[in-house]
Symmetry: C2
Subunit: 145 residues, 2 copies
């Protein structure tokens, strides 16, 4: 399986969020070429502004593996992680983090960190299926206006 | 009730963490002069490196108030929040955040943000009962060595 395939799966999660009137961001965690956890943004449904796709997918992955760290896993998320999620990804010690669309307003980069928030052992890949990931966000916010 | 009183309550939560062999950090959320949520670090017990005192207390507060934001609440935490928790506090839109000990290694300041990670409407107070909060951390790590 390719990175593109797994990002398409993260997009499916984002589509679920969209259909439930949530900001459409989705994530999957992959280890040994299979999806071990999924998540999509549930901040409205759970009345919890911390219920982001990444947080939900990470907690599910820890539970599935019964492990506190994910050194052999990759997390795919459709949009640049926010400050909170970047910090959560740091603690998770993932092998790789891959995201699609950048997010200048709400992504971690809004605080202009001098030092990367990610774990030094985590490889970061950005811009995968960026147009598809961004298009879903744009469609959501356009419908909201 | 004073800020000191509520920080003492956060210290009680931290003490609970200490007794359960968790890094001793505790938090309480206060609204209308009463504690509406508590949390202490449970990363070992839950096998989840995101199970920080602040995350647990925040999610409990959202649930208690059935609200997504906490504009009338203050969160007290014994140690400077990490990047993840600083991001969660941003999303929570608290009125105030008060912490005790600073944490150069794991606190949010490790990434040297040019822009504050906290919400512009949130008042930040630092250094409250700093010595007591730091002493508990030092005792924990000394015992671990």
């Amino acid at each position: 399986m390719t990175d593109e395939y797994f990002m398409q799966q993260a997009l499916k999660e984002a589509q679920r969020a969209f259909e439930e009137d949530e900001i459409p961001i989705g994530a999957v965690v992959v280890q040994d070429n299979r999806i071990i956890a999924r998540g999509y943004n549930m901040t409205e449904k759970l009345n919890d502004p911390t219920a982001h796709a990444e947080m939900i997918a990470l907690t599910s992955a820890f539970s599935f593996l019964n492990a506190k760290y994910l050194p052999d896993a990759t997390l795919y998320v459709t949009v640049e992680p926010c400050v909170m999620c970047a910090g959560a990804l740091y603690w998770s010690k993932l092998r790789r983090v891959v995201w699609g669309a950048s997010d200048a307003k709400n992504g971690f980069s809004r605080v202009q960190p001098v030092t990367s928030p990610f774990h030094p052992k985590t490889e970061i890949v950005t811009g995968l299926l960026e147009d598809e990931c961004a298009a879903l966000m744009k469609a959501f916010f356009k419908a909201k206006r």
